[in-house]
Every structure is written in C-alpha cells, then in structure tokens.
Amino acid sequence: MVTDGIAVFSHDVTKVFGRGDTQVPALRGINLKIRLGELTMLVGPSGSGKTTLLCVITGLLDATSGELVVLGQRPAELSQEELILFRRKNLGFVFQQYNLIPALTASENVAVPLLAGGVKRQQAVTRGREFLATLGMAHRANALPSELSGGEQQRVALARALVHEPTLIVCDEPTSALDGRTGHTVMELLSATAVRPDRAVIIVTHDTRIFDFAHQIAHMDDGRIVSLEEDRKNVALTRALAPASTVVSLATKRRAFPYDRRLGT
C-alpha cells in the first residue's frame, strides 16, 4: 500500500559488496523519495551506484543497512518468493539491451509478464497485441526482435513493462542504445504512457538529452546522491510548449550540481 503518494522511500540506505578487506561500498546512505505521478532520473558517472540503487529498490539486491519502503512494502522483510511475486505484480522493467526473447514475436514478448502471472497464452498474446497497438506498433506485432529496429525493440520492451499495469516502472538506460531522434521518440512515448498519477517511473541514464523529461533528478557519485533536483514538473510541462533551447536552459537550473565537467554537460 502506498502512503502519502510516496512510491519509494529510502533513508540512509547502504549497500556493501564483498567482505573484510575486499569490501566495496556501492551505496553510502541514500536518502530519496520518489513520488507517484513523477518520473525520476538517477544520473551520474559510471560506478556512481545508480544501477545498484535501482537493483536495491526493485529487490534484485538486498540493502546492507538503512530503511527502504517500496510501494508500502519493506523488501528486506519479504521472503524471496514474496519478492518475486511483488516484482511480478508491481514492477515493470525496461532494460538497456531490451532483453526481449529472440524466439518470441513482439506481441508474445509483451505477453510474458501476463504469462508469468498465470494468464492463458491466447488471452495474454491478444492483450500484448492490443497494447502494442496503443504504442503504434500494431503492424509489427508478429515480427521477431531480430526484425525490429532498436527503437521498435525498445517500444516492445516498454509495452512489456506496462502491459500488466504495474505501479512502478524502472528503466535502465532506455535510450543509450538508440540514436538521439529515436531516443527522444521513445522517451516521449514513455512519459506519455507510463507517467500517471498512480504510477512512478525511475530511469537510470547517462543521456543528458532526456533530462528534461524528468520531474526529479538525483545526481549520484561514489555511492551518494550528491544533488537532487526536485519539482521539475514545470520543466516537463514547458518542454511540451516551448522551443527546445528554452527547455534546455530551464532543465539546467538546479540546486547543486558539482559534476558538470565529469558528465560533460
């Protein structure tokens, strides 16, 4: 159950890999709130801990310490089986490399979360086909991933993430394998279809071109959130109405962002 519109609440969350002398702290006291209806981006250089944070939030990795509440549940208190069921029901994933099953058609790939939830094959595939249609992919429903362009594959992956109506969508570098134009199209689609008042979206990205789609940006480095840009709704809204140059200038207004050089922005 989600309280106060907070999808993810993290207080002083740490994650340490290894033991003894080989310990590597990947997260060092993460404090973060992710609200429903918002698109949050985790950005930062490689090794900054953003993917680890994503894994901890989704229950794919355990936090070493700290308090983490995701959609009203504490992943640390759930058994492995409960975690799997929790992910299946509440989470939708979009991966950098799409991770579509090469043997399945687009509509069958979209149907996978439904099949995992026990929906009958025919019903699931039909639903997958319908969902693809809403993303403008009806004509490619029977195509194999190898027959699809990168943008089309990512749209199928997006459909797969959304088809079972999850409350939290997590995306790992959804545009990094795409050219700028296609990445932009995918992001427009993602923000148009995934962002809803009853749903939160988290995106891990290096891609500065898509920052203006975010309501909140957490800048990470060395396992910490070094700056947080909150309440960027006006940016997203303005983006839709204003020329691109204006959007970029608004998007770069943030409270603290000491890593411009490293990010190259």
């Binding site: 799997i84 950098q96 099953i101 043997a103 995992a116 790992d172």
Partner: protein, 379 residues
Amino acid sequence: MNFVALKMLVADRSKYFSLIFAIAFASFLLANQISIFIGIMTRPASQIQDVVDADIWVMDPQTLYSDEVYALRDYDLYRIRSVPGVEWAVPLYKGTGRAKGPDGRFRTVILMGVDDATLVGAPRKMLVGSIYGLDQPDAAIIDKAGFQYFFPGQSLQVGEALQMNDRRVLIVGISDASAPFQSFPVLHTRYSQALGFVGRERNLLSFVLAKPSAGVSIQEVCRRIEAATGLRARSAAEFSWDAFRFYMRNTGIPVNFGITVIIALIVGSVVPGQTFYIFTIENLKQFGALKAIGVTNRRIVSMILLQAMVVGATGYGLGMGMAAAFFASFLNYSPTRGIILPWQVMAGIAVVVLFVVGLASLMSIRRVLVLEPAVVFRS
C-alpha cells in the same frame, strides 16, 4: 510459460537439431549394440531353448556348457531313469559333423540326435514337413538357413539329400530352429541315425534329457540325479545361463560390445549435455530478465526440464525408430536371424536418456538458479 520454453528451444535450429541428433544417435547406437549383444549371447543357448519337452539336462560333471561336451556312457541313461522322481529320461546327441551338398560344397553342421522312440528334442517350429518324417531311414530335418546354404535359390522343399560320413541324409523337413552361435546349419535326426552320421567315438551320448515326476520340483530331481549318479544335472534355464556365462568369461565379445556401449554412453551424455548447457548459457540474459520480471525459480526450472524432456523424447523416439528400422530390415537376413530389439532394451535406454537429459539439465538449472537477476542491468 511452456510455450515460451519450447519456442526458445526450437528457435536456435542448429543447437536444437544437434541435441536431437546427438541423443538419437546415442540411443540408436545403444539399442543396436545392446540388442545385438543380447542376440549373440543368447545364441549359445539356442538348442537348449528349442527343446521344450524336457526340463532337465544331465551331462558329464566336466561339461560346462552346451557346445563343448564330454560324452556320457550309454548306461548312464539307465542310472538316471532309476533315480526317484524322474518321470522319464531320453538320450540326446549334440555334436558337429561335416555335411556335403549335391554340388560338392560342404559345411560343418550342428547335429542333434533325438530319442528314436519319443522324438523328444525334435524341433517344434516346422516350416515344411513334419517331425514324424524322422521315422524314415536316413531322415533328417534341416533348418531354413542350412537349406538355403546347401540349396541356394531353391524354394523350401523336402526330398533333397546331403551326405554325411559317406551316408545319405534325406531331408524330410525344414525347421525354424533358433540360430546357433556359429551360424552353422542345424540338423535334427534320430539318435541312432546321428551316431552313424558322425565319426565313431567310444561314447557318443552327449546329454540325457529328463522330466521330473509330477509333484517333484526340477531342482529336487537335479539334486537327486547328481547324488545318485555323480553326473551334473541342470534345469534348462540354468544350463542356458551356463552357456551365457561361459561366453561372457571366455570370449572378447562383452569387451568389444562393452566398449561400444560405453562410447555411446559418453558421446550420448557429453554432446547433449554440453550443447544443452551452452544453449542455456546463451539464454542466461533472457532467463535473468524473466527472473527480474517475476518468473519464479520453480517455473524456470520447469521450463528447462520441459526443454530437456522434449529434446530427450524426440531424440529417443528418433533413435528407437532408427533402431527398429535397422532390425526390421535385417529380420529375414539369415546370419542375423533372431536378433531383435527387445522392449526391455528400449525401456532401459529410455531410462538412460532420461538420466542423460536430467544430468544435462541439472547443470543448466544450477547455472540459472545461481543467476542474479540483477545481471540484466549489466550491458
């Protein structure tokens, strides 16, 4: 998720067919070699199995199996008949001789001399003629393979003649005798006649065939005969196993077949195992994605097992089909007659294939179970 598993399996055609053919080939090789081995190793007991009237075989104590016989003395027959519990006992000659055909070709033959009065030991499966034809002078029954050797191209018929020890051998019947180990022709004649067809030795009584009285067990009668006469008495089944064991111990047959079977097992295990493992490794990202999405380990294990079972069943079916076709095509070929694909071999190979695919899938399952779903976030 079953259809996802099956689609993943058949999508990579080259690996799928490699798996199928590796298992099919291994199954075929196993079925083929084991069946031929069983067929060959049961041949030494063919003449024992063909005698259906008598339950007990009595022989010299030093006779170990049916193909090498030290003859009994004639009066041993009467000693055996006098043992309490023996319903009846009759003589049987079993030996080899040389038979010459009308065109001069000759061949060593297995000569069975059955009791003149009762014809106990005569072949029961007759293709042409009757065992009662043995009442005629110089009469003998020859098996089909022998007839085809001596009279090539002729239809099966009685009235032809061979020559043994300068005596005429009149063919009065053609039997479907089980193939002997050496593939020699098998001739059945009366005991008294057989003694004339072979070179004379002082003693020619190979065996005494006996039947226990009603209510007395075969083992008990064997024990009594041995106690009373000092001879060796074996049930037909025991004597068949004696022959089998003798050939197992004293020939290279089991080693030769064993090596082939072991190679088939190794190839049949390693190739599918490795291919299936590689197949799983190549799909690890997909399995990782499925785990992240919320597919349980149990479901993924069942997907892998389903893939393994489909591969195993298809390969096994293909292998058994090939084996059945092989044996069917040689069914009427004289030298390999009697060698068949027993259902027990098919069942045994099914268990072996199950074990092989189980082993192969276990390695894959282990790899998938330890897979962290977080792997999908690594590019």
